[in-house]
C-alpha cells in the first residue's frame, strides 16, 4: 500500500502567536485550521450576522472616546460567542459562561452540531460476483477505510468508516475515510478498491445505483443460489430438458440429483460436476469466484462438467445450463460419444431462462449511515443525557435523521442506522476532526421533554422560524412521519400536550 509523505505544517500568520498547524488541526484560537495544507477559517460560533454589527478599529495611543467617529462596517460576520476561541490551547475552558444579557446575568449560548466521531456506513452491494473475501481491506485513494463483512443473500456487505479509521489511523487515512463517507452519504459515486495487488477488485458504489465491478455495471441480483433455482423452476423444465445445471458461485444445482428432481421422478443422467458435493444435487466451488457465469470465473459452462457416465447417459440427452441470474444460458444435446454439443434452445427453455432473469431484482447499492449520539450531543437535548437514552428506549422519544426513519440499536447509548436515500439530499457535512455532521432529531411530547430535564426555555413555536432561506421538502419517500402517534408508547387518546 502506498503511503503519501505527511504533509507539511503550515504557519498561521493571523496573529502574533504564529502557530504551526499540522494538517487537520486548528491553531490556538480554534478559528484558523490547516485543511489539506490550506489555512482555512472555521468560525464555528458565529452567531451574529454582519448586518447590524459595528466594528470600531483599534487605535493605539488614542485616548479619545470618539468611538462613533470611526466606525467601519464589517464585511464578514462578527464572532460574538466569546468563548469560541477564547483560549490558549490545552487548558482553557470552552465557553461555559457567555455574553448575552439574559435575565440580568451574563450568559452565552453555545451552538453544538450533530458531529459524529463514531460513525460509518454499511454498504450492501447486490451482486453474486466476487468482489473480495470476508475481512479483505477496502481502500479509497490508497487508504484503508473499511473491510468486507459477510456475504448476504445475493449481496456483499461492506463496513466503511468507523472511529478507528476516522481518528485512529494516520491523518490521511482519517481525511480520506471522512471524504468517502461524506460522498457516499450524499449519494455520490465512490470508487473503492477491495483487497491488495493481484487480488484487488475495483467497485464503484453509489447509493441506489447498480455497482460497477471492475469496470462492468452489474444488472441483476440472483433469484437464489443454484439449488434454490432448481427448487423454484424444476416443474417448468420437466418435459423440456433431461438435465438442468444452474451455475452459481456459491451452490451449483443439478436437477436430476436434487431433491426437487427426485420428487418429480427425473431419472439420473450420469452427469459429473467438477466441484465439491454438498448434499445431493448441490455443489460448492465448481469454479473460482469471478465476473463470469453466476459469479464464477467461467465463460464456458462445459468446463465444470466431467465426462458423462456411459452406463447411465444416452445420446440425445437434452442439457440446459443456466446461471442463477438467467443472464447466461446454453442448451446442449449429447452426441453419440456422449459429449455435449451446442444446439438451438427450445422456446420453452428460453422462456424459463427469461423467467429466472425476470425474477431477479435489479442490482443496487444501499448505503446505511450508522452513528452514535454521544453524551455531548445528547446533552444538547437534555441536561441529563442518559435520560434521553432511556426515553428513546421507552418509546417516549422518537429518533429520526433528516425526517427519515432511523433504526435504533438495542443496548446502551443511541446508535442509529438510516438509509441515506430516505434523507434529504446533501444532508451530510463534515468537520476537519475528521468527523461527519449529520442531522438527528429527537421528537417527543412537551410534557415528556420537561420530565427529562429538557431545555424548556429554548423552545420556540415553529411559526417563529424564519421562512426565508428555509429549505422546504415534501414528505420523505417512504412517507415516514416522525410525529405520527404510532411511533410512541403512549396511546392516541393520551394526547395531553
Amino acid at each position: 500500500m502506498k503511503r503519501v509523505a505527511r504533509s507539511e505544517k503550515i504557519r498561521c500568520d493571523a496573529c502574533p502567536v504564529m502557530c504551526y498547524i499540522a494538517d487537520g488541526k486548528a491553531g490556538a484560537c480554534d478559528r484558523y485550521a490547516n485543511h489539506g495544507g490550506e489555512l482555512v477559517r472555521l468560525d464555528p460560533l458565529t452567531i451574529i450576522d454582519g448586518t447590524d454589527q459595528q466594528l470600531v478599529p483599534f487605535l493605539t495611543g488614542d485616548g479619545a472616546r470618539d468611538w462613533d467617529g470611526n466606525i467601519v462596517r464589517a464585511d464578514r460576520p462578527f464572532v460574538t460567542a466569546v468563548g469560541a476561541g477564547t483560549t490558549y490551547p490545552d487548558y482553557k475552558p470552552a465557553p461555559f459562561i457567555v455574553s448575552q444579557d439574559v435575565e440580568g446575568v451574563d450568559m452565552v449560548t453555545v451552538v453544538t452540531e450533530g458531529i459524529f466521531s463514531y460513525c460509518g456506513v454499511k454498504v450492501k452491494i447486490d451482486t453474486d460476483r466476487h468482489i473480495g473475501h470476508e475481512r479483505d481491506v477496502v481502500y479509497a485513494d490508497g487508504e484503508p477505510i473499511g473491510h468486507v463483512m459477510t456475504s448476504e443473500y445475493g449481496s456483499k456487505m461492506l463496513s466503511l468508516g468507523g472511529v478507528e479509521h476516522l481518528t485512529g489511523g494516520s491523518k490521511k487515512e482519517g481525511r480520506v475515510t471522512c471524504d468517502a463517507l461524506l460522498r457516499l452519504c450524499n449519494r455520490e459515486a465512490v470508487e473503492l478498491v477491495i483487497g491488495e495487488a493481484d487480488h484487488a477488485n475495483s467497485v464503484v458504489v453509489e447509493a441506489g445505483k447498480a455497482p460497477i465491478i471492475n469496470g462492468e455495471r452489474e444488472k441483476l441480483m440472483r433469484v437464489g443460489c443454484g439449488s434454490a433455482a432448481i427448487g423454484m423452476f424444476a416443474k417448468q423444465w420437466l418435459n423440456e430438458a433431461d438435465e438442468v445445471v444452474v451455475v452459481d458461485d456459491h451452490i451449483t444445482g443439478v436437477l436430476s440429483e436434487h431433491q426437487a428432481g427426485k420428487e418429480l421422478d427425473v431419472p439420473p443422467t450420469g452427469i459429473k460436476i467438477l466441484g465439491r458435493r454438498s448434499t445431493p444435487g448441490r455443489y460448492f466451488q465448481v469454479a473460482e469466484p469471478g465476473t463470469g457465469w453466476g459469479g464464477t470465473d467461467i465463460d464456458d459452462p462445459l468446463t465444470i462438467l466431467g465426462p458423462f457416465n456411459p452406463k447411465i447417459a444416452w445420446p440425445g440427452l437434452r442439457l440446459l445450463m443456466v446461471s442463477t441470474t438467467g443472464e447466461q444460458s446454453g442448451y446442449y444435446e449429447l452426441d453419440d460419444a456422449l459429449l455435449p454439443q451446442p444446439a438451438e434452445m427450445p422456446d420453452a427453455l428460453r422462456k424459463s431462462a427469461d423467467l429466472i432473469a425476470e425474477n431477479c431484482e435489479p442490482s443496487v447499492c444501499s448505503v446505511l449511515f450508522m452513528g452514535g449520539a454521544g453524551g455531548s450531543l445528547r446533552a444538547g437535548v437534555t441536561e441529563n443525557p442518559v435520560r434521553l437514552t432511556r426515553s428513546v428506549r421507552e418509546a417516549l422519544t422518537h429518533v429520526s435523521c433528516g425526517g427519515a426513519r432511523a433504526y435504533v440499536w438495542p443496548g446502551g447509548g443511541i446508535t442509529v442506522m438510516v438509509d441515506v436515500l430516505d434523507m434529504p439530499t446533501e444532508s451530510f457535512g463534515y468537520v476537519p476532526t475528521p468527523a461527519l455532521v449529520a442531522p438527528i432529531e429527537f421528537t417527543l411530547r412537551v410534557s415528556d421533554y420537561r420530565a427529562l430535564g429538557g431545555h424548556m426555555d429554548q423552545i420556540k413555536p415553529v411559526e417563529d422560524l424564519a421562512r426565508d432561506g428555509l429549505r422546504q421538502l415534501d414528505k420523505s419517500l417512504h412517507d415516514h412521519d416522525p410525529m405520527s402517534h404510532d411511533n410512541y408508547r403512549w396511546k392516541k387518546t393520551d394526547r395531553s400536550e
Binding site: 499540522a22 459562561i97 435520560r387
Partner: protein, 286 residues
Amino acid sequence: MTAQASLMPCGTRLHLHHGPIDLVIGADGDRGAAFAAARDRFATVLQELVAELPDLRAEMLADTSRPDGQIARRMDAATRDVMHDGFITRMAAVAGSVADTILQVMTGAAELTRAYVNNGGDIAIHLAPGQSYATAMASPTGGDLGRITIRHGDAIRGIATSGRHGRSHSLGIADSVTVLARTAAQADVAATLIANAVDLPGHAGIRRRPASDLSDDSDLGSLPVVVGCDPLSEAEVAAALACGLDRAQSFVDRKLIAGAALFLQGDSRMTGCRHFSSAQRRVELA
C-alpha cells in the same frame, strides 16, 4: 491582524479581540474612560505573552525562573501556589491573568461602581461597596447549571471555569468546574487542576490520547488528555467527583480559593456553597 476593539450591539459592552484572546468587558460608571484604558492596555497584551511563550508553556517546577512580563508574572504567581498539587504550566493562568490585568487598568483610570472583564469564561470582577455581580453557569450546550452571586463583601474577584468540553484539553473528565477566588488568575489555575482531578484512572470507558497528538504546541506534551468518556454509573460519577472535591477542598482549606462547583454527567458537588445556587435537580424517571 492587529488587536481589534468594538462596541457590542447593546452599546454598553466592549469586545476586544486579538488572535486567541477575546474579552467582553462591562463597566458601570465612567464607562468611556474605562473602555479607553482597557483598549490601550490590550494593544500589546498578545505580543507580551508571545515573547515568553516557550518558557510559559514549560512545566512549572520549583527552580523555574520568574518571567519578565507583567501578565506573565501574574501567571507565575498564581501557578507557584499550586505547583505541587499536579502537573501545571503557567499557561493555566493566562486567561485569568489577562482579565485581571485589563480590569486593573480600568479601575485605575475611571471611577467605576461595577465592572467585569470576561475572558471566555474566566472573569475578573470589580465591585464598589453595596454592589453585587450575578452570573450563570451554563453547560456546554447552554443548559442552566445554576447561578453565582458575588457581593462586595465577599473576598472574591475572580471566576473561572475549566472542563473537558469544547475543544480544550483536560486531563480529567469533568464536564465543567467553576471556581471562585480572589483573582481570576487564581480561579483559572485552580479550575484547571480541579477539573484534572475529576477522573477515574484506568477506567475502560474513558479514552485518552497524548496531548501532542491533538495539538502540536500543547503545553501538556505527551500527557494523556481525555478525548472521550462513556456514560458512567452513578457510583462512578460520584467517585470521580469525590477525587475532584478532595482537591477543591484542599484549595479552600489553604485559602487559595473561596469555592468550587464541579459538574459531571448530570451530578455535581460544591464547596463554598453559599455563593452558588444550583439548578441541578435530580428527577428520577418513573
